[in-house]
Amino acid sequence: MSDRVFEIVTSSFMKLLIPGITVTIPLTILSFLLSLVLGLLLAVSQTANIKGLKQFSVFYIWIFRGTPLIVQLFIIFHGLPTIGIYIEAFWAAIIAFGLNLAAYNAEAIRAAILAIPEGQLEAAYMIGLSYPIAMIRIVLPQAFQIAFPSLFNNLISLLKDTSLASSITVVEMFAVVQQITGRTYEYFALYLEVAFIYLIFSTLLTFLQSYLEKKFVWKSDATKEEKRGRRRAMLG
């Protein structure tokens, strides 16, 4: 690598990392929270068999899974203004990502709810819980555990997909790298560099996932401790 390239790559690192931390990550987190809440509502309106809502949910998922994310993004940012709805780029991105991912999260949560044995709900009824309370107290926590890996997968996809926000003027990490390449023409090195930063972020998420998955099992502390002890013993 020439000194010039080295110089550009090192001086760009912070320039990329900062929008990564201040834009890409908040964009990811906020969109994901929106997609989680909406996804949960969509999933529950299907499994609860609420008339009308169920059809709406199926329709919603059909639309948002069946059309490209970038088109959805453009409709919200460029399309809505023509009917008088103006949304700032950053929020337009959150709305588009959130609405889109909600469809995928809904499917993950719905499948998880269906995987919970009917007996859990019946036992809840027999101790006097109503359907909504039984869902909140018993079924959804268990479904969430089952859906967790899929939801986390979706989160990691989202992290990478936020780069599409650059196409609607959001100055996130990928937009910044495009500005720098525009000035320096060092496409290869700089795109590799930004890929590397995305990789760091998603790797951290993967660590977070396995950490949470371990915490998120319904075993008493004594059993967990014993398991850890056994693993330690095995490692010698």
Binding site: P117, G119, Q120, E122, A123, A124, Y125, M126, I127, G128, L129, S130, I133, R137, I138, P141, Q142, Q145, W218, K219, S220, D221, A222, T223
Partner: protein, 241 residues
């Protein structure tokens, strides 16, 4: 105390319960026996409104309701008086043993935590599961799970507890610990309806035996009489297997 009159239930074209009259008095232990597929589980599920009925009247003391068209509030009122112990335990996997027992008291009955905990501890003591109070269901044997499930039902102090083959999902060496708990409850005067294949239990613990076959109650009477000297041919056949 609890009475069912003319209960009918079909699945599609298949009529499972063809007109069941059934009565439980306070303090009674009723064993429901009969061949597999005769509708015993369906009977308990209809009584507890887990399945809907096609016809039938339920009376609880002076309270009467049409089982077919029971409203949500009727169902919840009637269920307050019933406990259910399932063949497959159905303990809440996301809660510790003690939380399983406290759940109904706190969430449904709005009891305060401290009081609920006291009751739960007392119930777990009764079923011999106090030591495992902080374990999760996945860490228990079948026999232990079923004892916790019994504690969960008893904690709400229902007027009658329905048991659907509480020991048939258990390894043979674990049935004893569950039957012992049930015998203890019987001795304390708990009203119970127990679907079971344990003839020893039915004979020695139950006050009355109901024999079901093909959707009818074929024979019923004092436990020892029905089991030792069945009047009906169908009952005799079943018992001599």
């Amino acid at each position: 105390m609890l009475e069912i009159i003319g209960l009918k239930k079909s699945y599609g074209d298949n009529e499972i319960l063809k007109g069941i009259d059934f009565k439980v008095d306070k303090g009674e232990v009723i064993a429901v026996i009969g061949p597999s597929g005769s509708g015993k589980t369906t009977l308990l599920r209809c009584i507890s409104f887990l399945s809907n009925s096609d016809e039938g009247i339920m009376r609880l003391d002076d309270y009467e309701c049409d089982m077919k068209s029971a409203t949500k509030s009727e169902v919840s009122h009637l269920r307050e008086n019933m406990g259910f112990v399932f063949q497959s335990f159905n303990l809440f996997r996301n809660m510790t043993v003690i939380k399983n027992v406290m759940e109904g008291l706190i969430t449904a009955r709005k009891m305060d935590k401290k009081e609920a905990k006291e009751i739960a501890l007392e119930m777990l003591e009764k079923v011999g599961m106090l030591e495992k109070k902080d374990s999760y269901p996945d860490e228990l044997s079948g026999g232990q799970s079923q004892r916790v499930a019994i504690a969960r039902a008893v904690a709400l102090n229902p007027r009658v507890i329905l048991f659907d083959e509480p020991t048939s999902a258990l390894d043979p060496e674990l049935t004893g610990e569950v039957l012992d708990v049930m015998k203890k409850l019987a001795d304390e005067g708990t009203t119970m309806v127990v679907v079971t294949h344990e003839m020893g239990f039915a004979r020695d613990v139950a006050s009355r035996v109901v024999f079901m076959a093909d959707g009818y109650i074929v024979e019923e009477g004092p436990a020892k009489e029905v089991i030792d000297n069945p009047r009906e041919e169908r009952t005799r056949q079943f018992l001599s297997r």
